[in-house]
């Protein structure tokens, strides 16, 4: 299993900034989509150097546990 780490900052205006960590390649975009479902619309995305590393097989489950 791989550990993903997310750092979220909820500003006093309610805007949410998410730092997605532990991914290589575009797997981080799937993680951002997961948080989109919880919060709202993506206003801006900035990629760091890890975004351009080779792809890894990532599948995040968006369904809720019951």
């Amino acid at each position: 299993m791989k550990q993903r780490t997310y750092e979220l900052t909820i500003s006093p205006t309610g805007e949410v900034e998410i730092h997605v960590d532990g991914f290589k390649g575009k797997g981080c975009l799937e993680a951002i989509k997961l948080f989109e479902q919880m919060v709202g619309e993506t206003k801006d995305v900035r990629h760091t150097s890890g975004f351009y590393e080779p792809e890894e097989d990532v599948h995040l489950h968006s369904e809720r546990h019951h």
Binding site: Y6, G27, M38
Partner: protein, 158 residues
């Protein structure tokens, strides 16, 4: 770290969820939440005769309500300012701020601060619930000097 995303919050919630966030936000800003309209002998209708009034909508909000919830509202006061959250005619959350001796700009700033903090508290509760439901672990929660809430979350993936 691979990416940083900024998300605009969308608030679609029932009145109990909205009012809970409003009450928490109000207390954090030093407001006293009033249990009924005439508590402390102050009402918005009386104050409007001598005081300025500003009404603001909370952006990207929708208060989901049934027939029973249409007249629900929550009032609070601080330093001669009265604020009232309610559902406007278009279903959005709205805040009306009234206060004698305050400029329109000051009242608008108070209303925007209240509305923002309400959304912040709503998002905090929603994220905690949604992340827990998805098996994510909240390992740290702090509030920084700018009153932003910082969450550190761990998630194990196959």
């Amino acid at each position: 770290m691979s990416a940083v995303a900024v998300l605009t919050p969308i608030v679609v919630a029932s009145w109990p969820a909205i009012s809970s966030a409003v009450a928490t936000a109000a207390v954090s800003l030093g407001f006293k939440v009033l249990q009924d309209a005439n508590q402390e002998g102050v009402s918005l209708d009386v104050e409007t005769e001598t005081a300025r009034k500003v009404t603001l909508n909370v952006p990207h909000s929708e208060v989901v309500t049934g027939t029973l919830g249409r007249d629900q509202r929550l009032r609070m006061s601080r330093d001669g300012v009265m604020a009232e959250f309610s559902r406007d005619a278009r279903g959005r959350a709205a805040v009306c701020v009234t206060g004698a001796g305050y400029s329109e700009e000051q009242l608008r700033a108070i209303g925007e601060e209240l509305g923002g903090r309400m959304v912040q508290q709503y998002m905090l509760t929603k994220l905690k619930n949604e992340m827990a439901a998805r098996g994510m672990d909240l390992v740290e929660e702090t509030v920084d000097e700018s009153q932003s809430i910082r969450l550190r979350v761990r998630h194990w993936q196959n």
